[in-house]
């Protein structure tokens, strides 16, 4: 009888890393970072539910599967209807210039592949600086396998006239692991909107482990819209890390529909005075879909404002998680931080776990949070029905307006209709 050794699931990823390195070479500006990241990953391994921040999300079944890291194949790109935007397309994580539309970018704005980016310095300084691979095992894994990604650079004072749409196309006939990487650098007073979406071709299962780093310089404005339409066989872990400087403004609008397991980590480090950070999220799930939004706002300096608003609708056997943490550090006075989470459960088997936490070490602050979970408002429903509206339509109307609160916060009009469309499909 042969002796079977039990392997840690992490060991498979470590072995894959070795093979990946020998294929792709170990030189280049980021190889050092990659090496440190894999060492860290080997040390900490994947999170389990014993880890406080993964208490309500069990990622183990997803990482226990075998995935391949596949090269891109020829494919097509759908884009978002009605969205007039510059377009950067990545297929299985690699930049695909033939699908990208970047003509007409104003001078001072660059959208390019991380691999062979024009400014090594910028890459060296910023990649891996905001997304902390020490803390997050998934970020460590992404950083270890870092080969390509997108860099968006907007020089000081440049304001982009149209959003930049980053599309990740994933195409494979075998289960696939894709680890997209994005760096957005907005210079002083620059302004940019980014739309981030994923398109899945083929019916195989996929694990997407995305890391995005955003540097918002003094007086710059960045808006980041993340639109994810999941399938029952795709799981996704995202780490979006934002670093804000003096008088900067950052807004995120995260829309998540379905997917097997989704974990959106969003961390904001407001490291200067007079920063404004708006975090909006809408999540809708049905069947056995599981969506976990975990946010962390770190107020390190005084006179800043952050406002967080997440809403969820959970149907069938779906599970929703909201974990919001606001940290106000010592001497970070005059902070206004707000956090709201509202969820609706549509069935007996849907579940919602909410954990809105405040950790405060400065006294002259105004911080609050609110969370509610319940059913649709019965009185509202009755009112609509008393006007002759069928119950089904009344429910849909109310749920749409519940979701609309978040949708309307997106500054990109073209997205509204598209997202309302997804809401409607989820409700039918």
């Amino acid at each position: 009888m042969p002796i079977v050794m039990d392997h840690r699931v992490e060991d498979r990823f470590l072995a894959a890393y070795e093979r990946y390195q020998s294929m792709n070479g170990t030189s280049g500006p980021l190889s050092d970072l990659s090496q440190k990241a894999i060492e860290r990953f080997a040390e900490v391994g994947f999170p389990t539910r014993k880890n406080e921040s993964w208490k309500y999300t069990n990622i183990t079944p997803v990482i226990n599967r075998t995935y391949q890291i596949a090269d891109p194949e020829t494919t097509t790109v759908d884009g978002i209807e009605g969205l007039d935007a510059y377009r950067a397309v990545f297929v299985n994580g690699l930049f695909a210039p033939e699908h990208s539309i970047l003509d007409g970018l104003p001078s001072g704005a660059v959208v390019e592949s991380l691999h062979g980016a024009s400014e090594d310095d910028l890459i060296q300084t910023h990649v891996g600086t905001y997304a902390d691979y020490h803390q997050e095992p998934f970020t460590a894994l992404n950083t270890a396998f870092l080969k390509d990604g997108v860099v968006i650079r907007v020089s000081s004072g440049v304001k982009l006239d149209r959003p930049v749409h980053i599309i990740h196309v994933i195409t494979a006939d075998q289960p696939i692991l894709v680890q997209p990487r994005t760096l957005i650098h907005a210079g002083e007073g620059a302004s940019i909107q980014v739309v981030y979406s994923t398109e899945l071709k083929g019916s195989t299962s996929a694990l997407i482990n995305a890391v995005t780093e955003i540097h918002v310089s003094k007086e710059a404005q960045v808006e980041f819209s993340d639109l994810q339409i999941g399938t029952p066989t795709t799981s996704r872990v995202t780490n979006l890390s934002v670093y804000q400087q003096n008088q900067s403004k950052f807004q995120s609008d995260v829309f998540t529909f379905g997917g097997e397991i989704t974990r959106n980590n969003l961390s904001i480090h407001a490291d200067a005075e007079h920063c404004e950070s708006l975090l909006h999220g809408l999540f809708m799930a049905r069947e056995k879909s599981h969506i976990d939004n975990s946010t962390f706002v770190d107020h390190a300096k005084p006179n800043c404002m952050s406002s967080e608003y997440y809403k969820g609708i959970l149907d069938e056997d779906a599970v929703g998680v909201f974990h919001g943490q606001v940290l106000v550090r010592e001497d970070a006075q005059l902070i206004n931080a707000y956090q709201t989470n509202r969820s609706i459960l549509l069935t007996d088997t849907a579940r919602m776990f909410s954990k809105p936490a405040l950790e405060i070490y400065a006294d002259d602050v105004k911080c609050s949070h609110g969370a509610t979970t319940g059913q649709l408002d019965k009185e509202g429903l009755f009112y609509l029905r008393s006007r002759g509206i069928h119950e089904k339509d009344a429910r849909r109307l109310m749920l749409t307006s519940f979701a609309g609160d978040i949708i309307e916060k997106s500054p990109i009009q073209a997205l509204h209709e598209v997202i309302y469309g997804h809401v409607d499909r989820m409700l039918s």
């Binding site: 406080e52 309500y56 010592e330 001497d331 006075q333 969820s343 459960l345 549509l346 069935t347 007996d348 088997t349 849907a350 579940r351 919602m352 776990f353 909410s354 954990k355 809105p356 936490a357 405040l358 950790e359 405060i360 070490y361 400065a362 006294d363 002259d364 602050v365 105004k366 911080c367 609050s368 949070h369 609110g370 969370a371 509610t372 979970t373 319940g374 059913q375």
Partner: protein
């Protein structure tokens, strides 16, 4: 000077009022914990066999937990060095004789202790109508009003007497709400507890007076591990008060208590606590580690359990009085004021576990942090699958007095039933500048204005306390504020 301010004055000078220790003979066993020690405690308590077995079961479980210091409970927002459990004495009884039949037998020094504590043991205070069980170090030393209570069929006695005289009841209920497997300190308590209070209210009886237990750690190098068990039969009512103090000592003392409440159909139990264990000095030296497991079960339909607490003491407080809402239409309440100053750390809150239909719970928590202290609310609201039409309302407000303290809120809302209505609100702020200006414009000094506004902030909770206790609570709060504002 009116009496209030005199009182304030005296105490402001002495910082921690109850910081003396009493010179009385005591029977203290050597430090350390082992199976022999468990057997020794059990022998001293004249335990029946089933009790000894129960202790040993708990001890074996605890030993497993304690064998790996990495597994010590660390999830709370508190910091302290690992406790050396072999450096604590697990049994200390005042006097050579561990039990007293009447007050005359009690060491006069001990009586002075009670007088200093304001415990109404003597005649005139007895008229105040509070029945008291007092636990010093590990042993219950006096229970008053036993006969009066007995007329109503109410049993109120030390845990030791309960084991001896009401063994069936104890066996039936002890560990039924907080089993020894519940957590690290519950296991430790189940193994070494030496006394505590037992209270049984028969069906249909409304307890005619407030029942009260005072706990005091006196001896150096000892821990206190008491258990309280309250059983309220169908349709009964009891209001139970608990107060705690400890002498000022430079070393940390461990208090790991367990409180269990069982409320049957339509019964109501109101449990109020004023916790004023020695908090350590301003630099954080000394003070009591207060690791307590308190839980009640609303077993029957329409029952109600209400926890009210004023927490001002202890170096570290780790405490979550909880309610399991099993019976349909049962009600759970948690009202709390936690005040921390110096280097105190409090991680306190509640768990409301909704199992039955139409159950409802209310959580109102007020945290005040001063100096370099840290004050956290940690609360769980779980609506189970079958808990149709459950309701919860939670409000947690934190106030910071000074810019070197911390106020934290960690709520957990787990909703598994769509008919639930769960609302959670929390705010953190300091005393409002406009409110201060308003008070000062009326001639009130800055310090008095802060005290006035902070007391106002806690008012909602203090009104939940029984009248006499509320007076004491207000005084205590005023004293605590005196030392930490201005």
């Amino acid at each position: 000077m009116n009496t209030d301010t005199q009182y304030l004055h005296q105490v402001a000078e002495s910082d921690y009022e109850h910081g003396w220790s009493t010179e009385i003979d005591s029977d203290t066993i050597p430090k350390g914990l082992s199976e022999e020690v468990i057997r020794l405690i059990s022998a001293k308590k004249h335990d029946p066999d089933w009790m000894l077995e129960s202790r040993l079961r708990a001890f074996r479980h605890w030993e497993k937990l304690a064998s790996d210091t990495d597994k010590y409970p660390r999830w709370a927002h508190i910091q302290y060095p690992n406790i050396d459990f072999q450096d604590i004495s697990y049994y200390s009884a005042p006097g050579n004789k561990p039990r007293y039949d009447s007050l005359d037998e009690v060491d006069p020094e001990l009586i002075k202790t009670f007088e200093a504590l304001g415990i109404p043991l003597e005649e005139q205070k007895v008229l105040a109508g509070v029945a008291v069980d007092a636990v010093i170090d590990s042993v219950s030393v006096a229970t008053t009003f036993k006969e009066e209570l007995a007329k109503h069929g109410i049993i109120f006695c030390s845990f030791t007497e309960a084991i001896e005289n009401h063994g069936d009841l104890v066996r039936k209920y002890m560990g039924s709400v907080v089993p020894y497997t519940d957590n690290f300190y519950a296991a430790l308590n189940a193994a070494v507890f030496s006394d505590g209070s037992f209270c049984y209210i028969p069906a249909g009886v409304r307890c005619p007076m407030e029942l009260s237990t005072y706990f005091r750690i006196n001896e150096a190098g000892t821990g206190q591990f008491e258990r309280t068990l309250i059983v309220a039969e169908e349709g009964s009512y009891v209001s139970y008060l608990e107060g705690c103090t400890a002498p000022r000592r430079d070393e940390n003392q461990l208090h790991a208590a367990v409180v269990e409440i069982i409320a049957h159909k339509d019964a109501e139990v109101k449990y109020s606590t004023i916790q004023n264990w020695y908090p350590g000095n301003a630099e954080g030296k000394g003070g009591v580690y207060n690791f307590v497991t308190k839980r009640g079960i609303c077993e029957g339909a329409g029952s109600k359990i209400s926890w009210t607490q004023l927490e001002t003491g202890s170096a570290i407080t780790w405490k979550y009085p909880s309610v399991i809402l099993k019976g349909d239409h049962s009600v759970g309440e948690f009202y709390s004021v936690a005040f921390t100053k110096g280097r105190q750390q409090a991680d306190t809150g509640t768990k409301m576990l909704h199992l039955g239909r139409n159950t409802s719970s209310t959580i109102i928590s007020k945290g005040i942090s001063a100096d370099r202290s840290n004050n956290s609310y940690r609360g769980l609201v779980r609506i189970n699958k079958g808990a149709e039409n459950a309701r919860n309302f939670t409000q947690c407000d934190s106030m910071l007095l000074g810019d070197r303290c911390g106020a934290h809120t960690f709520p957990y809302l787990e909703i598994q039933n769509p008919t639930a209505q769960v609302e959670h609100e929390a705010t953190t702020s300091k005393v409002g500048e406009d409110q201060m200006f308003y008070c000062q414009q009326r001639g009130i000094s800055e310090q008095d204005a802060i005290k006035l506004l902070v007391s106002g902030f806690c008012q909602e909770i203090l009104t939940q306390l029984p009248m006499e206790f509320a007076v004491e609570a207000r005084k205590l709060l005023a004293i605590e504020l005196e030392g930490s504002v201005g």
